[in-house]
């Protein structure tokens, strides 16, 4: 017997996609224009801050 999906329950992944926003970086230092997706929980500080630091790191 199949169950009807519960519309109030969302997986974290879906939540992330819904809230994801995008930045587009195009600067002389960079080789190409690349759209960067940003998971909201991986960003901190005001969205209109004058300085944005994108940190590409490896935990290991």
């Amino acid at each position: 017997m199949s169950r009807a999906p519960n519309p109030t329950r969302r997986s974290p992944r879906v939540y992330t996609i819904i809230l994801a926003c995008a930045l587009v970086f195009s600067a002389a230092d960079l080789p190409a224009q690349v759209e960067l997706t940003v998971a909201p929980f991986m960003a901190k500080g005001p969205a209109d801050a004058p300085v944005t630091i994108v940190d590409f790191s490896d935990y290991q």
């Binding site: 970086f25 960079l30 080789p31 991986m42 630091i53 935990y59």
Partner: protein
């Protein structure tokens, strides 16, 4: 960098390097923590604990930041965020980012972690350019 509160937006992007076998699960685990509102606490713990990133370690850290370990284990084992980590890696590669850390400060690329004073100077310059 408390002195820049309100003037900086920090965005973390996953760039596990291919030779680091335990990195990818750690990045996925951090996103599992993020989905439960504990991203930065878990992120900081990972940097303190590196390179102890076996599954049991990742679960232990989840408990340390107050997450439900069983639920966290499901997220990790199902690899719910594997595609998101891979998307970050692809974006990094598209930008030619092959070393870590690599920072983009208003698009200006900085490879490696600069000394604090140099980093402060880079931020001050970026702030001046925005005035």
């Amino acid at each position: 960098m408390k002195e820049y509160d309100g003037r900086i937006r920090l965005i973390f992007k996953d760039r596990p390097l291919a030779g680091h076998a335990l990195a990818r699960p750690a990045h996925e685990a951090a996103r599992c923590a993020g989905a439960k509102g504990k991203y930065w606490e878990y992120h900081d713990l990972l940097f303190e604990a590196q390179p102890a990133f076996e599954r049991a370690d990742l679960l232990l850290y989840a408990g340390e930041v107050g997450l439900d370990r069983a639920e966290f284990a499901r997220c990790l084992d199902e690899r719910r965020f594997a595609a998101d980590v891979e998307a970050d890696v692809r974006q990094a590669v598209a930008l030619g980012i092959m070393r870590t850390p690599t920072l983009l400060v208003n698009g200006r690329r900085i490879e490696g972690a600069p000394p604090l004073e140099e980093f402060r100077s880079i931020i001050e310059q970026a702030l001046r350019e925005r005035r």
